[in-house]
């Protein structure tokens, strides 16, 4: 566990749990956790970050959950543990705990995964999405239109994901492939759970997404409405703005 304490008096303690940082955090996904913890602190709250490893006790009192992408071998290593903590994750999602699941963990949060060989692997069913493995890899920079504004990142996945009826996407693709390269949707969002293929990592350059997650987590942690600090993010804004201009002009 690591703790980040704000400079002034703390407005409360927010507990973040990173699921499987060893097995499921490739392409800098740890940066999301780092960005969230640092932003929690800048908003004047204490951030307590826990790593959840396969087989360990699960913190079902967490205020915010994060997960990343992995290789096939990494996914295989966490499946047994996901069976164990799955019921807790489902009830936390229903209860409104904010979660951000990237790439491999996004797929595992869906209904099922169909391998190239025809096997059907069940997922947690927290997001109503189905993923099919295919030979084509979708790789490259992405720009999305989301309810949080324009979001930039980098996708790298071979799975093709389709949303179920009524499942909201995380965003609409302005540049890149997104869920499947065809319907211009990217990721999925149910209640406060966001699934997305965007690495980059996603949060450092898109702090408005961090703030949306933190707002819900802060309320759950303190029982009071979120009390944000007035933050400006010149570096993130410039990094994001430049990518948006490169990708969509």
């Amino acid at each position: 566990m690591s703790t980040l304490v704000p400079d002034g008096p703390s407005k409360g303690t927010i507990t973040l749990v990173h699921l499987y940082p060893r097995e499921m955090s490739i392409y800098g996904d740890l940066g999301n956790t780092r960005a969230l913890a640092s932003r929690v602190r800048r908003h004047g709250y204490t951030a307590e970050v826990h790593d959840h490893h396969p087989g360990a006790d699960f913190r079902d009192d967490a205020h915010l959950l994060l997960g990343g992408g992995g290789q096939d071998s990494g996914q295989a290593r966490v499946e047994a543990d996901l069976d164990v903590i799955g019921p807790a994750l489902r009830s936390m999602a229903r209860d409104g705990v904010p979660m951000l699941m990237i790439c491999g963990m996004y797929q595992l949060f869906g209904r099922s995964f169909h391998t190239v060989g025809g096997q059907v692997l069940p997922g947690l069913g927290i997001l109503d999405v189905t993923t099919r493995g295919n030979d084509k890899r979708m790789i490259g920079p992405v720009c999305l239109d989301t309810e949080f504004g324009r979001v930039v990142g980098y996708e790298n996945h071979s799975g093709s994901t389709v949303l179920g009826d009524g499942q909201e996407p995380f965003g609409r693709v302005l540049s890149g492939q997104g869920n499947n390269g065809e319907d211009r949707t990217e990721g999925a969002r149910s209640h406060h759970v966001i699934g997305s293929y965007l690495h980059g990592p996603l949060l450092p350059a898109n702090p408005m997404v961090s703030d949306a997650l933190i707002a819900v987590a802060a309320e759950r942690a303190t029982g009071r409405p979120f009390e944000p600090a007035d933050l400006d993010d010149p570096l993130a804004d410039e990094a994001r703005g430049r990518q948006v201009r490169r990708l969509v002009g």
């Binding site: 392409y27 290789q71 490259g140 920079p141 980098y154 071979s158 450092p204 570096l235 993130a236």
Partner: protein
């Protein structure tokens, strides 16, 4: 036979043309290959030892060191020194030395190949030996999976007819090489510095069990450093060293240990410790690996960074000698288009001095990354030349260091060459 001669001539001509234009190193090989598809295997048919050096980090440095040691022992060695680490690049490099009958006259060929091209090479030419350095995340947007990379190295090892030299400390390499039927020699860190292992290895998530430590057997070597530049290579029956390299840091010393272990396997009884130490001490750092340029009487170091393990080692290596720092990150194809990996590097060692300027296409992303490690950045300037000028102007009297991705380095080096008379790409600076 005539076809081979024609291919050799066409290739030589293409190479002369390409060099005059300062152009690509693959083209002449392509020309020769069109006329005689089996030219590469034919060229190497009379060479008794063919050694492939592969792995994610350190190929160029290690190959250079191995070739130097073998030549110091009087062996005639062919190598591909310009970092043209793909099959046609090897062929292009060979053309000037290739007689018309198409057979290279050498005792040994030592070629540096990335994992994917090593597969194409071994399909044409079975190597006698291979040196498996390490597996780390690199350019994942192209090679996709680190597991896949490990598998390619395992296949290279399995294709080697006489022997393999492998990194005992790299979990991927050591698992792959541990299952080979071929003769394997191991190199690694001496137990006295085992605590520095995490700096240089990737976590292998594929298996639950931890590999049992491997006791050094005959012909195996361990690196025992004295300081950041001097070390001993310790075999069970003899020691090489102290060796003092021209390059600093753990990575270079591990490369030297790998080269020494391989040289001993190749040379057998002819291997001489003193000759080896002397040869290693004379090896100049390859282009972009700690190359030092004189700028207004102060040293400016160019350090190529391309993946988290490499950047981490570079920060550790250079951390002991503080310098004003610039970081230049591009995201062109040759750099890797995904900059996510910067979040897998720990930059806290730069916290005390801060970074003078970030530059390149992703200058702001780099500054943002540093901000998350509480490292201050004095200026952000995407334009490389403007950034270089600002950097030199702000720190005229200090040693300077630029960490940069591949295309940023090429651009900076061109500018520095125009202003300070550097050697051309692919050639060593004059001694």
């Amino acid at each position: 036979m005539l076809r081979t001669a024609a291919a050799v001539v066409a290739g030589k001509t293409a190479r002369a043309l390409a060099r005059r234009r300062g152009g690509g190193s693959a083209f002449p090989g392509l020309v020769a290959e069109r006329l005689q598809p089996r030219i590469l295997s034919g060229a190497l048919a009379d060479v008794p030892g063919v050694v492939v050096v592969s792995g994610t980090n350190g190929k160029t440095t290690t190959t250079k060191m191995l070739v130097a040691v073998l030549r110091a022992h009087g062996r005639r060695v062919f190598s591909n020194p310009t970092g043209s680490n793909f099959t046609r690049g090897v062929l292009s490099e060979m053309l000037p030395d290739l007689p018309l009958r198409g057979r290279l006259e050498a005792d040994l060929a030592v070629v540096e190949l990335d994992e994917a091209h090593a597969m194409r090479f071994i399909a044409e030419v079975p190597p006698t030996h291979s040196l498996l350095l390490n597996v780390a995340r690199d350019q994942l947007d192209r090679f996709a999976e680190i597991d896949h990379t490990a598998d390619l190295l395992a296949r290279l090892g399995a294709a080697s007819t006489e022997g393999v030299v492998a990194n005992v400390d790299d979990p991927y390499v050591s698992r792959a090489a541990g299952e080979l039927a071929t003769d394997v020699r191991w190199f690694g860190l001496h137990p006295s510095i085992a605590d520095r292992l995490p700096e240089i290895t990737e976590h292998d998530a594929r298996f639950d069990d931890v590999l049992a430590a491997r006791e050094p057997g005959p012909g195996d070597a361990r690196l025992r450093p004295v300081d950041e530049r001097s070390f001993h290579v310790v075999f069970p029956d003899l020691e090489v060293g102290p060796v003092t390299l021209q390059q600093r840091g753990l990575a270079a010393m591990i490369n030297a240990t790998a080269a020494t272990t391989t040289a001993r396997m190749l040379l057998g009884d002819a291997f001489d410790a003193a000759t080896t130490a002397e040869a290693l001490a004379k090896v100049r750092p390859p282009f972009g690996r700690g190359e030092v340029i004189d700028v207004g009487g102060r040293p400016l170091e160019l350090v190529l960074v391309k993946n988290p393990a490499g950047f981490g080692v570079a920060l550790g290596t250079y951390g002991s000698t503080p310098a004003a720092t610039m970081v230049a990150i591009n995201d062109n194809d040759a750099d890797g288009r995904d900059v996510s990996w910067l979040y897998d590097v720990d930059f806290s060692s730069l916290r005390e001095r801060g970074v003078a300027v970030t530059s390149g296409v992703r200058a702001y992303d780099m500054a943002l990354r540093l901000h998350y490690d509480d490292v201050t950045t004095d200026a952000v300037e995407p334009d490389l030349d403007a950034a270089l000028d600002a950097f030199v102007a702000a720190h005229p009297d200090e040693p300077k260091r630029i960490f940069c991705t591949y295309t940023a380095m090429m651009a900076l080096r061109r500018t520095l060459a125009a202003r300070h008379g550097l050697a051309h790409f692919g050639e060593d600076a004059p001694a």
